[in-house]
């Protein structure tokens, strides 16, 4: 399949969905709404932002309820009610993160409705600029990887720039059929966990990070970390959230869910202003612990997909790979 066929597919998808994908603009690649499908970037540069807001919006309304007495006391659930989005150009790493979200939000009706509405188009491109550095805990280019990541359509690009197409769902097949694409391979998703069992790198990392709070590396990075929380914002697996309220007219109040950030001081605060994650060191460790200990324990899947977006946006250049390499094996 040639690039022009893929553009045709993208145009069709754009006619049915709100199309978002990576666009290269100067030195930066970002995921944006797409007007011209020929501008979609297939170079393999990881976009600065992630696709997560299409599945877990920065802010979403959950329900409204009333502070008035009488008969107005009904709780009214909100429906997702947004235009269906096509997430175009998700890399294997992004799709692993999406697979994790599918597990974390398996019982969340808002996530599920959005997930059902949206369409996911993956691409094979996607490795950070410095590949040598990246290999440290990369899980890219594994065998049978496509069976272990969720997608509707996946585009594999070869060195000549030609594309091989895979379908991962009936939704994907319907779109391919509508565009007249008949040559594609069907992939059956069998879950995130490889046949061989738990990812050995994940297991090793879990042991390294757990109980490492007293190692000096945490104090070292805490001394430079600004606790700005940018890493959490761009991370495709970070999913902490807050529940908050907005007062509307007539005494109606809307309950909303917003992205949370474990680097912010109110994150662990309880009544009486007591805070449990007091220091930057504690918050940093909490962030790493979520990815490398809690998520693997709960979902048997890695909590970091090694996209290095956190490193890219960090104003003081904290490199997650270096941090993990500095952790001692036994302690």
């Amino acid at each position: 399949m040639l690039k022009k066929d893929i553009d045709k597919l993208a145009s069709f998808v754009a006619s049915k969905y709100d199309l978002h994908g990576p666009i290269k603009d100067g030195n930066e690649t970002t995921i944006k709404p797409i007007q011209d499908v020929t501008k979609l970037d297939y170079s393999g540069i990881i976009a600065t932002n992630s696709f997560k807001s299409f599945f877990l919006p920065i802010r979403e309304e959950l329900f409204s309820f009333s502070a008035q007495g009488g008969t107005n006391n009904k709780v009214l659930p909100k429906s997702v009610n947004s235009k269906a989005i096509a997430a175009w150009g998700m890399t294997v790493m992004d799709l692993k993160a999406l697979g994790l979200y599918d597990l974390v939000f398996a019982k969340d009706p808002y996530y599920q409705e959005r997930r059902e509405n949206n369409i996911v188009i993956g691409i094979s491109a996607g490795a950070p600029a410095k590949f040598d550095e990246y290999q440290v805990f990369s899980m890219n280019l594994e065998e049978n990887i496509l069976e272990h990541i969720p997608f509707d359509i996946f585009l594999e690009q070869n060195k000549e720039g030609e594309f091989h197409i895979y379908s991962g769902s009936s939704k994907g097949r319907q779109v391919l059929k509508a565009v007249g694409i008949e040559i594609y391979e069907n992939i059956q998703f069998v879950g995130l966990i490889p046949e061989e069992g738990l990812d050995p790198r994940m297991v090793k990392m879990n042991q390294k990070v757990a109980d490492s709070i007293d190692q000096k590396v945490w104090q070292e990075i805490a001394s430079i970390c600004l606790a700005c929380g940018k890493c959490s914002q761009v991370c495709p697996t970070c999913f902490c959230f807050d529940l908050s309220e907005v007062s509307e007219k007539d005494g109606q109040v809307t309950k909303q869910r917003e992205w949370g950030n474990c680097f912010f001081s109110g994150f662990s605060e309880i009544a009486g202003k007591k805070t449990f994650l007091k220091t930057v060191k504690q918050r940093l460790f909490f962030w790493y612990e979520h990815k490398f200990v809690r998520i693997p324990n709960e979902y048997k899947a890695p909590g970091c997909v090694s996209c290095l977006r956190c490193y890219k946006v960090c104003p003081v250049g904290i490199n997650i790979i270096e941090v993990l390499n500095k952790l001692k094996q036994d302690e």
């Binding site: 959950l62 329900f63 309820f65 009333s66 502070a67 007495g69 006391n73 709780v75 659930p77 974390v104 939000f105 019982k107 969340d108 009706p109 599920q112 757990a210 999913f239 902490c240 959230f241 807050d242 529940l243 908050s244 309220e245 007062s247 005494g251 109606q252 109040v253 309950k255 869910r257 949370g260 474990c262 994150f267 662990s268 605060e269 309880i270 009544a271 009486g272 007591k274 449990f276 909490f286 612990e289 979520h290 200990v293 809690r294 324990n297």
Partner: protein, 281 residues
């Protein structure tokens, strides 16, 4: 798909002022069918909310056998949400979801079945739930139950009107007050002057027993030390902790303490759990 965030309406059936800043609320689901189906384990908590004032976690402090009729929470005014609750009157409503958490262990399955119920300050609220439970289940007539209550002053003591009733049901109640001009009397007993730890030196504490502790974090370590001196094993000591809660279903991360979620794996932990997770206290 069940929506875990939607709260239900409950009506304030009864309010009893307990101290200068606390009141006991008896709540009943507006939907009576929901009330009839309602069940909880002692030690579990509810997320209570009022539109515009937010949501917070409150441990149920009534007997689980009454769950089909009502449940009670005791609220102390500390912030915006609790200030809103304190302004409510009988017949007003608020919203709840839950119950959440693991709850205390079932009494009959304990190794040492005499109970030491220890509460400090407003941490005494969940202890009142345990007291209600031992009375309702007639556990206190089979086993020794000793209640230790440490409080700042007589004015902040909760559930004063219930003390006599507890003593009649064979519970032992020991009270320490940090500040008191004349000794506070309940039935034919007197509170001691001092903190909760002083009860261990001035009174006879039952043993062997299973201890259940709720209170401010600063109280835990001294009390645990005294319990160990008394000969209690780590596995005989349970405690309840407080953390920020948003979702209640182990997703949002606010209540995570290393590898556990307090909203699901807690709020009750065993002292043995500290081996793997010292940050719980």
């Amino acid at each position: 798909m069940n929506n875990p965030y939607l709260p239900s309406l409950v009506e304030v059936e009864q309010i009893k002022v307990e101290s200068i800043d606390s009141a006991l609320f008896r709540l009943k689901f507006k939907d009576l069918a929901q009330q009839k189906k309602f069940a909880f384990r002692q030690g579990q908590f509810m997320l209570l909310s009022f539109p515009g004032a937010g949501e917070g976690a409150f441990t149920i402090c009534s007997a689980s056998s009454q769950a089909r009729n009502y449940f009670e929470v005791c609220i102390r005014q500390v912030g915006f949400l609790t200030e809103k609750f304190m302004s409510l009157k009988k017949g007003d409503f608020l919203y709840v979801r839950g119950p959440y958490g693991n709850g205390w262990p079932v009494f009959d399955k304990l190794k040492n079945q005499d109970l030491l119920l220890i509460g400090g300050g407003c941490g005494f609220v969940p202890i009142r739930g345990l007291v209600e439970e031992t009375i309702a289940s007639e556990y206190s007539s089979k086993q020794a139950v000793q209640v230790l209550y440490g409080c700042a002053t007589e004015q902040t003591l909760l559930f004063k009107d219930e003390f006599e009733g507890w003593l009649k049901k064979d519970l032992q109640l020991l009270i320490s007050l940090e500040r008191q001009k004349k000794f506070y009397q309940y039935a034919n007993q007197k509170a001691i002057k001092g903190n909760l730890g002083d009860l261990f030196t001035k009174k006879k504490i039952i043993k062997p027993a299973t201890a259940m502790i709720v209170g401010p974090p600063a109280m835990f370590n001294p009390v645990i030390k005294l319990l160990k001196q008394l000969g209690l094993a780590d596995t005989d000591i349970y405690f309840s902790i407080e953390r920020r809660m948003h979702c209640g279903v182990g997703v949002c991360q606010h209540c995570a303490v290393n590898n556990v979620y307090v909203c699901q794996d807690g709020p009750i932990f065993n002292l043995d759990d500290l081996d793997n997770n010292p940050d719980l206290i």
